[in-house]
Amino acid sequence: MADAFWIILVGALAASACGVIGCFLVLRRQAMMGDAISHGVLPGIVIAFVMTGSRNIAPMFLAAGAMGLLTAFLTDVLARRGRLQSDAAMGVTFTWLFAVGVILVTRYADAVDLDVECVLYGEILFTPFNRFEWGGFDLGPKAVWTTGAALAANAVFLTLGYPKLKLCTFDPGLAAALGVRVALWHYLLMAFTSMTTVACFESVGAVLVVAMLIAPANTAYLLTDRLSIMLAIAAVVGVISAVSGYLLAYQLDGAIAAGMTVTSGALFALAALFSPRHGVVTRAWRRVRVKTPG
């Protein structure tokens, strides 16, 4: 039971860390950037593995973070210098980096304790056994610390940068006119997206990272028109999908991260249909009520 608690805690921490940063990606119409970055970091992770021969978190963070930024940067360069649509630029960039990552994983399969399945859906099941020890004390599973740190870092970043990020997101023209460095904030956001992706990658895999970046944020987007409330809802929705996803995966005896992905999708579907203001069914219902008076 204690194991289940740790697994759910890691899932919930990862989901809320992704959820809050995902809100900005969704509002800036860069949702697929989450997909691109979570695939693009793979070569960085493998290179860090091969160079250090361990799952040491610091080099992995640096290498993968650099790869995430490289994904964002290459997309930007190809879109502007190469005159491609930004989605095509993104598609070219991240599939290439991911392919390189898969080749590296295969090439160093003996040296690296990492396989492609782990890349896709993580090893959240084993998180309770990978402990973080410091000075002889057992401080709980490592993954709790990494995902927790990611959540804390995102919270600090979003709190400090909130006014400027908000301005850049909703009115980049005005932001630029007021002297806010729009490009800088874009890359900062990308850097924190990469960081979050890497922190969550090991335990929950690429699939769940993408889902957690996009689905809870969209669910929240359907439920409110205020950014601050949207951030809170996204975090809560993330936690709910983590808990219910664990139960679903347990029932079906499937991958836990995949279960969490599925429930986050189900929550989005519920919001799309029954959101008080924007739901498809609620809107249809309102129309019916208006047409039939009394």
Binding site: V26, R29, Q30, A31, M32, G34, D35, H39, L78, R81, G82, R83, L84, Q85, D87, A88, A89, M90, G91, V92, T95, W96, F98, A99, V100, V102, I103, T106, A109, V116, L120, Y121, V207, L208, V210, A211, I214, A215, A217, N218, Y221, L222, L248, A249, L252, D253, G254, A255, A257, A258, G259, M260, T261, V262, S264, G265, F268, A272, H278, V280
Partner: protein
């Protein structure tokens, strides 16, 4: 690996010494070509990542097909994959149309949630202890090395079908790509054609799963199309070129996994096609980066040359005397350029016979140079007149604009401009506008 080994493996590979090698190679080439061609449509419709979402959305279909039939027959798997791709495509469409969520979010949600469902089912099947499931996970990253005769036949059949559909509906697809409003006005069944186009993409994704896998299928759709776009502006040429690029990278990927036994074919195909993409991006004439930088440099040079000619001409205007040589510091004062740039431009002008160095460090216009300088000055001033008279812009605001247009206006436009303005004598600042075609300097007297 030594060069000899590489060459030898090439020969062994492409003479198809083993029938299995032939299957793998043919399969990869066909797949690359078909996906490359079809991907052009997604690319030109600005929906490049649709292929990514649809490829991921195929996974639950594969698992359900297996759960229902218990077989891994390629036809069953293909049908399952195509069915769930279709549901994915409809879901993307539904989310964008019926909720306030944007298209990128819709793609991301369908991609991750469908894939999550697929992984959940896949792990469920794997944990169920069913012995027949072994190898089902190869659809994640593909395993071209496992292609057998039947797979290749299905692949070839589908590829031919795709080509036929594209050939038959070429004109219709072209119209809905570039001018959907016209298509609607012309009475074409736009909705049905769009469904046909989506089906073509879904089928291409379906056949790609075995060789490349769901994760990297997106690359085989987007990258050849993006690369081909750099070389041509014609749709037919783009389709053919994308097919060739996709096919070539299919062959290279198959070869790579043949040489290095454990290497996965799909990722190598993607790496090869991206290599071709970057080559196109850099080197393609016209739209390529190198060609554009070259054009930019040529234009900058032309601008520097013409600016200097105009300066020299204007020096001479004051006393109607273009023979007095001007020194470097004099020129430097008028033109806001660096000394190095100025010397380089003067050297270029000297080689072109437009400026001659009368004494060391002293420069004067030749007859040709004076004519060019007069022409640039004329265009500059005509444009200033045009802006003040026709567009009613204040005379003190027109100089910067004229500074740019003087380098691009063609003689034809210059003539029309003068005609429209009824051959003005003076510009808004009172300077005389040089006449066209007349060299107002007598040289060397």
């Amino acid at each position: 690996m030594a060069m000899d080994d590489v060459a030898a493996s090439w020969v062994r590979f492409f003479t198809f010494s083993s029938v299995n090698v032939a299957y793998v190679a043919i399969g990869c080439v066909l797949l690359g070509a078909a996906a490359g061609m079809v991907g052009c449509f997604a690319f030109l419709r600005k929906r490049s990542l649709l292929g990514d979402a649809l490829a991921h959305a195929a996974l639950p279909g594969i698992c359900v097909a297996f759960l229902l039939t218990g077989s891994k027959d390629p036809v069953v798997i293909l049908l399952g994959a195509v069915a769930s791709c279709w549901i994915g495509a409809l879901t993307v469409d539904w989310i964008t149309r019926c909720t306030r969520c944007k298209e990128d979010s819709a793609l991301g949600i369908v991609l991750s949630v469908f894939f999550g469902v697929g992984i959940l089912l896949l792990t469920h099947i794997q944990h169920s202890g069913n012995a027949a499931q072994a190898g089902l996970d190869r659809f994640l990253f593909g395993q071209a090395a496992g292609l057998v005769a039947r797979d290749v036949k299905i692949l070839a059949g589908t590829a031919v079908l795709l080509c036929c559909v594209v050939a038959l509906l070429y004109k219709e697809f072209k119209v809905i790509l570039f001018d959907p409003d016209f298509a609607r006005a012309a009475g074409l069944p736009v909705r049905r054609l769009e469904i046909a186009l989506a089906t073509v993409i879904v089928l291409a994704v379906g056949i790609g799963l075995q060789a490349v896998g769901v994760v990297l299928m997106a690359a085989m759709l987007v990258t050849p199309a993006a690369a081909a776009r750099y070389w041509t502006d014609r749709l037919s040429a783009m389709l053919a070129l994308a097919a060739v690029l996709g096919g070539v990278s299919g062959a290279l990927g198959a070869w790579a996994s043949y040489v290095a036994a454990r290497m996965p074919t799909g990722p190598w195909m993607v790496v090869c096609v991206t290599g071709l993409f970057f080559a196109s991006f850099l080197l393609a004439p016209g739209r390529g980066l190198a060609a554009r930088l070259l054009r930019l440099r040529r234009f900058r040079r032309k601008t520097a040359v013409e600016n200097l000619l105009r300066t020299l001409y204007q020096f001479g205007e004051a006393g109607q005397d273009w023979n007095t040589p001007r020194s470097l510091p004099e020129l430097l004062e008028r033109r806001g350029a660096s000394m190095r740039e100025l010397r380089r431009t003067l050297a270029r002008l000297g080689r072109a016979g437009l400026v001659s160095e009368a004494a060391p460090g002293m420069f004067t216009l030749t007859a040709d140079g004076a004519a060019r300088g007069a022409r640039v000055t004329r265009v500059h001033r005509l444009w200033e007149v045009y802006l003040t008279r026709k567009l009613e812009i204040a005379p003190d605001r027109v100089h910067d604009d004229a500074e740019e247009i003087e380098h691009v206006l063609t003689p034809e436009l210059e003539r029309r401009l003068a005609e429209t303005l009824e051959y003005p004598e003076r510009d808004p600042h009172g300077s005389r506008i040089p006449r066209a075609g007349r060299i107002s300097i007598s040289q060397g007297t």
